[in-house]
Symmetry: C2
Subunit: 556 residues, 2 copies
């Protein structure tokens, strides 16, 4: 039995060896833990009490069935040793959390249900597992702006990321199409900015394309976000917020036109997609307001990293505005590009002064203005990341191919709505972040990898889970496992692992292709965008030479 | 403080009096409980550990902060006494569960979050509460057939019903538009019957009306349903399944045409709504198959009550079929009506022989064939229930007005998609089941009340929560509270109670009307059906004189 279970672990541990026998958990499970293992013991108790019906209580070390021991280190390593008398997990405090999730993979998949099924025997296979992650950043970005999900979806996603040993959740909280975080100093951000009248069908890029005629919106209160942060922290995940600036900020400008470039031409919250010409202005009253917004944000998110966006910001509105031109001159700066550098530098320093590090999309490396602790998120392929690493910055790899999970999982006509074709499960599994890297010293600046769930065309919760899974399982392996087996072997492990997703009720894409009712994509299949990923990548290579997107790619 | 909290309880307890002071729960909460209180103690531990961050562990009775004592009775009564040293809940084992939920209403609303918020003090107001329900059946029906929700939505709904002291969840698992329960003996029920190619927009009643072009479907595995049953049971709720027969069975007939009346004219799973002419046939091979289906169902659902549908079944296909006419004659029966009586009698006896009671919609009283233990669910107004009670049957009150929560909550144009106008929160609160009853003896046959969430036009999870809340809160009061205050006083209590729904992230209708993004109803607002509830009720009064719906109301 035991070797069977070890062959279903996702992500694959560094080493795992089966031993004879198994540990049958009794109705009353004794837990012994030291102080550093308190969080892991609480997590294990909370998660398994509900699912198994077993009762967990503190016990003396010798009598305990589960022993949790912290070595006090700062890493994420752990070691599981199970024999017929007890399961011992040792490791760093953070590593113990991963040990708990591996222990859950060793138990019957039913431990992912919300209540005990009759007749399940809660046995753990005797084994020895030694494990630690390859990358320190194993992230997933959820776009809550284009389509909003209620907080319970985010909490559920935290569970699913934790199941796969992820440790970062990047919440894209603001964009042209919506502002999702309550800011008490600026109530109109949510009163006005959190909803739109309408949504363009497919990837509409102008108001004249067909729209759905239905309002959409929602936002998280500060307490909702504090709850998400605490829930994620208990599961080993840091939540990094993103306030997108200076572009992709139309919802902010709709709420407060005085922070935009055309205060006499108010805009509405964006109803269509693409790259907007609307930018926040860099004038002092706006900078002061943004600082206030960030001050509130920092009270919600203890994350050492704060994402300020920075992608797809055409500077024409800064160039065209007499007031902004005058301000640029008053600062002694030569042009809008230099103002952009000032803007990034200002918030990099603002965050550093408060003990945080700025993170931005790779456009920001073009302008500079970064403090040494800043982190570049490479999305336009890998070149931005390479350039940043060579300049000495830490780097996160989030290249469109193969980490944008809004692209279809297959080229079949039965796939649901997607942004375009296609990022295969096999592509994700084959992703080797170091493969194209010029030298090892700069690759050492790569903190890790991250997948992206942009939501222009991911409309509801079921569709979100479909697009995420099982590609998240493959990326988990890229992010965690030092060595990987071939795709066929992974696929075989995954086929068993899917039973865990079934137990949790996840609407994943079956390996054989979508179920009949998964083929729609929230009723918008007729509006499938026609992006071809390979063409898009060629464009991106060109874009990556510049800080601004080509003018012909701007939305109305 | 304490009296403030008591004034926010929903449903209102029989008696509640404040005392001076409060109990501050410490970081380590000791629980003492006797054997009969084990389930309540487990529930309290599981639910509050996650939300509060406090640790709960068994303690000696004198040292415990929470004491749970069972009186071993069979009712649902409980008594809470809180002073500055401890909170004691005593009552029947089932009542203790309600006591736990009242205790949660006495705690800060944040106990409905998934993780502890910083700075919340877990204080309980000193008080004495004595409580018991007015009705033994406090139910809610979820239609999973017309639009499917994943199992996590059902689990969440269980939490919300338990919060409001409901004790029955009626799952409408099959209908013309979908079959949602895995039956191992008949795999095509889910392979074929669990999904449809398309859905008619609004309340389309023919294939020629506009459809959405999107497949829809899904089903619950037997393990999913066992999980729901166990989860609900731990929260004091019995799950009653419904297999709708002999009408509203097109999904079954699509999967197995040999169980229909026109085996040479196969049908697809229904894509539009209304009353279908398709019925299962009453021939021996079909009866045997249905028995097999019920046998499997009974292994999943321990519920003493099994709902077999029975509404809206026009008998013309039975009358028109030579094979069925011959079978009726061979049984020595005079006509299709007598066959219908035989059909009900057969399954009533089948269920009784297995220790269960048949429940059916009020049409079945017209035909008879009921065993004495059968239960009538009165939906076509109250007359069917009154007739059944006078004939000696137990009765459940589920009248369209005011318990059909697919009708709009208000007449405003800003309400989202609904089946028609309108069942106001005030209408629900004003519902007095005994008001129009002819005599007390027959009213004593009323087991309780139930609200219905039919889902022809309730398309997604957010819309479902909107239609349910806060009307469920008002029905909770009708079902539980022996005495009720006036609507203004209820509204005031409710305004505070909504903080609990906020903490749980419920998409309820605010008392002031829908939020901008709640006005759409899953993007189908343009297809709002035009039913006027008052006209519909006049129709129903006429229908209620007959077992069959008027021919002019049949769908294509």
């Amino acid at each position: 039995m035991s070797s069977d279970v070890l062959a279903t672990l996702v992500p694959q541990p560094v080493s795992a060896s089966a031993r004879p026998g198994s540990l049958a958990l009794p109705a009353q499970v004794g837990i012994w833990r030291d102080d550093g293992a308190a969080a892991a013991a609480d997590l294990l108790t909370i998660e398994l009490s509900r699912a198994t019906g077993l009762r967990f209580a503190p016990a003396a070390r010798e009598a305990a069935q589960i022993v949790l021991h912290s070595d006090g280190d700062s890493g994420e390593h752990y070691r599981i040793e199970i024999d017929e008398r007890r399961a011992s997990i040792s490791g760093s405090p953070a590593g113990l959390i991963h040990g708990v999730y591996t222990l859950r993979q060793l138990l019957p998949a039913a431990n992912w249900r919300a209540a005990p099924l009759p007749g399940v025997a809660w046995n753990l296979p005797a084994c020895l597992i030694e494990d630690r992650p390859r990358f320190g950043w194993r992230g997933c970005m959820l776009d809550t702006a284009r389509h909003f999900s209620p907080k319970q979806t985010i909490l559920r996603f935290v569970d699913l990321l934790a199941m796969h040993h992820f440790n970062r959740l990047h919440l894209h909280l603001t964009d042209d199409q919506g502002w999702r975080v309550e800011i008490k100093a600026f109530p109109k951000l949510t009163e006005v900015g959190s909803h739109r009248a309408n949504t363009g069908l497919g990837f509409a890029v102008s108001a004249t394309e067909p729209h759905d005629g239905t309002p959409h919106g929602g936002y998280y209160t500060q307490d909702d976000l504090r709850e998400i942060v605490a829930y994620a922290a208990a599961r080993g995940i840091i939540v990094m917020p993103e306030i997108e600036l200076p572009g992709h900020a139309r919802a902010l400008i709709a709420a407060y036109p005085e922070f935009g470039c055309l205060p006499d031409e108010p805009v509405d919250v964006g109803t269509y997609f693409g790259i907007s010409r609307d930018l926040v202005n860099p004038l002092p009253h706006t900078i002061a307001a943004l600082e206030t917004i960030f001050e509130e944000l920092l009270t919600i998110f203890p994350s050492p990293w704060i994402h300020v966006g920075g992608d797809e910001a055409p500077l024409e509105r800064w160039r065209d505005s007499p007031a902004i031109r005058a301000h640029i001159a008053s600062l002694g700066l030569p042009d809008a590009e230099a103002m952009r550098t000032w803007f990034t530098a200002h918030f990099a320093e603002f965050l550093n002064a408060r003990g945080r590090r700025l993170v931005g999309w790779d456009e920001i490396i073009h302008y500079g203005g970064l403090t040494p602790s800043s982190v570049i998120m490479s999305w336009r392929g890998e070149k931005g990341g390479m350039k940043a690493a060579q300049e000495g910055y830490d780097v996160l790899m989030a290249p469109v191919f193969p980490t944008y999970f809004d692209y279809a999982q297959d080229e079949g006509a039965d796939e649901p709505l997607s942004i375009g074709q296609s990022v295969l499960l096999e592509d994700v599994y084959a992703y080797e972040p170091s493969a194209r890297w010029p030298d090892k010293a700069s690759f050492d600046k790569v903190l890790g990898v991250q997948c992206q769930l942009w939501r222009e065309v991911i409309l509801d919760e079921a569709h979100l889970e479909y697009m995420a899974f099982p590609r998240v399982c493959a990326l988990a392996e890229v992010a965690w496992s030092e060595t990987r087996d071939d795709f066929a072997a992974f696929r075989q492990r995954l086929a068993h692992h899917l039973a865990r997703l079934d137990a949790y009720g996840v609407n994943y894409r079956p390996l054989a292709g979508p179920r009949p009712w998964q083929q729609g994509g929230a009723g918008r299949k007729a509006y499938q965008p026609r992006f071809n990923l390979k063409e898009a990548l060629a464009n991106l290579d060109q874009w990556a030479e510049s800080g601004e997107p080509p003018a012909e790619h701007l939305a109305d």
